[in-house]
Amino acid sequence: MTAQIVVNNLHKYFGNLEVLKGISLEIEKGQVVCVIGPSGSGKSTLLRCINRLEEPTRGEIVVDDITITDPKEDINKVRRHIGMVFQQFNLFPHLSVKENIMMAPLELKLKTKREAEQKALELLERVGLLEKADAMPRQLSGGQQQRVAIARALAMEPDIMLFDEPTSALDPEMVGEVLAVMKELAAMGMTMVVVTHEMGFAKDVADRVIFMDEGIIQEEAPPSEIFTNPKNPRTRGFLDKVLSV
């Protein structure tokens, strides 16, 4: 059986700037992969190519045996199975917490109103925010908003979750509550790709850590290896900087 996510020689240009310079990787079902690296290294771009929020310039991406880089594939169908969580949460400010979670399943006619509401409340309970069901997003703290955003993505019952620096916009005391929800997801066997600066999370939860710099994967290894004995001098340099603080 092939891996759940296969990226093959992926290139991405923004104008003349080559942001991804030939990325290849495979992620098995149920794996948690953390992508680390300095800013501007292309890690977010890589993540956003996996659900084609960024259009890859060249190369191939296969998710669940569907070649999503093939223009003939209906990307909207594929995206239903790939949840995404953003650095800035991007909750819909005109909808209540519950409506945020119910919107996509209802609009895509995957659930009746009753089913969607049931599911929304179930998910809110799971992320510990049941009492906020009828609140508006602006009334929530950053950490709470991000947990709602995770619940919103889960409402589509995805089998892959992409996280784009999910804790980078949070006050430090709120990072823990979001990571806890993510850990629980990982424990339940969700395939996860996490772009993060949380080295602690990567150490504890990741099956594999990918270090990216200058648009290429410099090193990939289990966390036990990469954090204690990085082979690439760039990896070592980066980790020295972020772990010494």
Partner: protein, 221 residues
Amino acid sequence: MDLGKVFGELNPLLLIGLKMTIAVTVLSLILAFALGLVTCFLTLSRKPVLRWISKLYVGLIRGTPLLVQVFYIFFAIPQLLQFLGFDVRLTPFLAGLITLTLNAGAYMSEIFRGAINAVNTGQMEAARSLGLNHGQAMKKVILPQALRICLPSLVNQFIITLKDSSLISVIGFADIMYQAKIYQGRTMQSFATYTWVAVYYLVLIAILTYVAKQVERKVKI
């Protein structure tokens, strides 16, 4: 200069005119809202031809005075059509309605475009990442927010169109302004007549502004 005496005679006439002013303004604003939305979507379209059409339309409206547009719709277009063999005659009401609709529609499309662009790009990405297509994301996520954003500018356009409707009196549309001109011509009471006309418009716009403020408070994000 007797404001009170003039009011007694003028008020019944202005009330008749008021109905026409309100009718043409409200109807044209409803039509212009739809026209503005469609034009806005053309402007944002990926097809260059559609963008080109909307740009031409908005450019023509913005580049010509409203008074010229009124005359164009009422006199010029019917003559052209007659020359082409169609016997089309517009009533002043219909000509006024068409002109105000075309005029407000162009400005509204720009208001909508600005508001849609003002919605954070992350909103579209979040909606698309859930599997919604572009149209669904527009309908459920972008437009509801854009409408809230553009409400103040939209109300401003309502006020402008209400005031602009007074210009249609020049082609014989019997609105507030038309009634006032007739009365003034008969009595030569210029000061009193136009003072009351100004008061009429002031009150109308005060009411509109008040209602708009209430709506704005209700739909605030």
